[in-house]
Amino acid sequence: MTTLPIEPVPAPPPSIETPSTEPRWASLRGVNASDRIYKGVLTVLALFLPLLIVALFVQLFVSALPAIKRFGFSFLWTSTWDPVAEIYGAAPMIFGTLASSLIALLIAVPLALGVAIFLTEFAPRWVRQPVAFLVEMLAAIPSVVYGLWGVFVLIPFLRGYVVPTLKALLGWTPFFQGVFYGNSLLAGGIILAIMIVPYIAAVSREVLLAVPAAQREAALGMGATRWEAVWTAVLPYGRAGLIGAIILGLGRALGETMAVTLVIGNRHDISLSALQPAYTMAAAIANEFSEATTSLYLSALFEVGLILFVITVVVNAFARLLIWRVARGAAVGSKAL
C-alpha cells in the first residue's frame, strides 16, 4: 500500500570493519538432502516399535495355533492340565491371575493413593524428597528379590501371625478355608501388592501434580479444610488419571512372573480360599516352558502367553487412554521403574 519515501543514504564511512561485498554466499538455490536422510533414519528406528508389537502378536498366535485348533474356546474354562493325556485347560491360571491381581489391588490401591496424596498435598517439604525417593527405590527392587523375600520372610510371617488371625476372624468365609502351607494365593497377592504400590503411586503423583493449582486454591479460598480441598476439588479433577494409574498397576500385576512363581504354589487348581496354592499364567509359563516335551504342550503354553499378552495389551491401552486425558500425552510413569 505504501512505500518508503527514499532519500539517498550516505555511504558508510570506509573502515576496516566493512565486510566485503563480493558474493561470499553459497547460492540460495538447492535442497538439503541431509534433513531427509535424518528423518528417514529416525523413522526407520521408530518403526521398530509397531513392527515389534505386530511380530509379537503374530508369532504368539502362530505358535499357539495347534492348541487353539485342538481345544478351541474350551481352553479358557477347562480346569484339567494333564501333559500325559495331552489335555490342557487354562482356567486355573486365568483364575489365579485375576484373583491374585484383585487381592493385590485391594491392598495396594489405598497404600499407593495414600502415598501419592500425602506427597502432593500434605507432606512438608523436607519429607517429600526422602519419601518419594524411598518409594522409587521400591520400584527398583527386582522381581526375583521380592520372591526371595517372599519365600523366606513373608510366608513364615504369614504362617506365624497373619493367617491364624485371619482364620480366627474370617475363617467362616470361603476365602480362608483349609490348611495354610505357605505357598498360596494370599502370599502371591501380598507380594504383588508391594510390587505395584510404587508404580501406582508414581503415576498417581504425576496425575495429581498435573491438576492445576487453581482448583485446590479455589476450594481453600472458600474455606475448605486441607482434606476437603483434596477430596472435593483435586481428586475429582484427576479421577480419570487416577483410575488409569490403578489400571496400569493392574496391568503390571497381571504380568509379574518371578516373585509370583516363588510364592504362589504353582498348582493347577481353582479355589475360593486364598490360603490355597494357585497358579498364574506368567508363573505357569516360567515353570513349565522348559519341561514342555511335546509340541502340543509347548503350543498350549504359547496359547497361555497369547492370552496373557492380549489381556495386558487391552488393559494397558485402556489405562494409557485414561491417563492421557489428564496428562496429555506426557510420558507419565516413565520415571517409575
Binding site: 535424518y38 528406528l45 509379537l56 507432606a123 496400569l248 506368567a282
Partner: protein, 282 residues
C-alpha cells in the same frame, strides 16, 4: 467456632493422619526388605564370593563371579542394541512425532512398556534359540533389548521435549538444518536427561529374570562366550532360592544384596547426572 467446623477440622486431621500412615506403611515395606537383605546377605559376602563361581550342589562356599560377569555382559550387550534404537525412536517422537505415525508409535511404546517380560522371553526364544538349537547370552541380550527400547524411547522423548522451543528457533534462524538443530542443539541440551533415562532403563533390565529363563538360560560355569548360555545374578538368585540346600539359600541372599547394590548404584548415578546438568543449566 461452631461444632460443625470443629468436626470438619478433626475429619481433616484424621484423614491427613491416615494418609501419612499409609505412606509410612509403604515405606516400611521397603525398609523391611532392604533390612532383611543386609541382615541375611551381608555376612555371606567375602572376597571369595566375588571371585569364585558356584561349587557343586551340596558343597559349601563358592561365589557368584560368573553371574556378575554374566550380568555385565548380557546387560551391556542389551544396552548396545537397545540404546541406539530407543534413543532414535525417542528423537523421532520428539522431532516428527506430532502426526498420526507419531501418535501410533507413542501409544505402542506405552503399551509395550506394560507387556509381561516372560512373553518377551518366549518371543526371543522362538527367534533366537529355537532356530539355532541352543541357548545363548546373545538371545538373552536381545530379549532385554526389546524390553529396554520402548522405555528408553519414551524417556528420551520426554527429556527432549523439555528443551525450550526458543532454543530450536535460535538455531534454525542461524541457518542450521533441521537434523543439526535436532542433534547438536536440542539433543545436546537434553543429554543429561537422556543419559539418566538410559541408566534407569539399564538398571531396570539388570534385575530381570523371566526373559532370561529361556534365552540365556544360566550357566554354572564361568564363561564370556556370548554364544553360550550365560549366568546372571538374577538367574543365580532364582536357582539358589528354589534349591533344597540351606547353603544355597544363604548364597541367594548374598547375591540378592549384590544385585540390589548394583541397581541402586546405577539409580544413584542417574540421579547425580540429572543434578549435575540441572545445576549447570541453572
Amino acid at each position: 467456632m461452631s461444632g460443625r467446623t470443629v468436626r470438619r477440622r478433626i475429619a481433616s486431621g484424621v484423614m491427613t493422619g491416615l494418609v501419612a500412615t499409609l505412606s509410612f506403611t509403604a515405606v516400611l515395606a521397603l525398609v523391611l526388605i532392604l533390612g532383611d537383605l543386609i541382615a541375611k546377605g551381608a555376612s555371606s559376602i567375602d572376597w571369595a564370593f566375588f571371585t569364585k563361581s558356584p561349587v557343586p550342589a551340596g558343597e559349601s562356599g563358592g561365589g557368584v563371579a560368573n553371574a556378575i560377569v554374566g550380568s555385565g555382559i548380557v546387560v551391556g550387550l542389551a544396552a548396545l542394541i537397545g540404546l541406539p534404537i530407543g534413543i532414535g525412536a525417542g528423537l523421532f517422537l520428539a522431532e516428527y512425532g506430532a502426526g498420526r505415525l507419531g501418535f501410533l508409535v507413542r501409544f505402542i511404546a506405552d503399551v509395550l512398556n506394560g507387556t509381561p517380560s516372560i512373553v518377551i522371553g518366549i518371543f526371543a526364544w522362538t527367534w533366537m534359540v529355537k532356530p539355532v538349537g541352543g541357548f545363548s547370552a546373545l538371545a538373552g541380550s536381545a530379549a532385554l533389548a526389546i524390553l529396554m527400547i520402548p522405555m528408553i524411547a519414551r524417556t528420551t522423548e520426554e527429556m527432549v521435549r523439555l528443551v525450550p522451543h526458543s532454543l530450536r528457533e535460535a538455531a534454525l534462524a542461524l541457518g542450521y538444518p533441521r537434523w543439526r538443530t535436532s542433534l547438536r542443539v536440542v539433543a545436546r541440551t537434553a543429554l543429561g536427561g537422556i543419559v539418566t533415562g538410559c541408566l534407569v532403563g539399564i538398571a531396570r533390565v539388570a534385575g530381570e529374570t523371566a526373559p532370561l529363563l529361556f534365552t540365556a538360560l544360566g550357566n554354572l560355569n564361568f564363561t564370556t562366550d556370548v554364544r553360550q548360555p550365560m549366568q546372571t545374578l538374577s538367574l543365580q538368585i532364582y536357582v539358589y532360592a528354589t534349591g533344597p540346600f540351606d547353603e544355597w539359600h544363604r548364597l541367594a541372599w548374598a547375591a540378592a544384596l549384590v544385585l540390589m547394590a548394583l541397581v541402586l548404584i546405577l539409580a544413584m548415578v542417574a540421579r547425580w547426572v540429572t543434578r549435575q546438568r540441572h545445576d549447570r543449566v541453572r
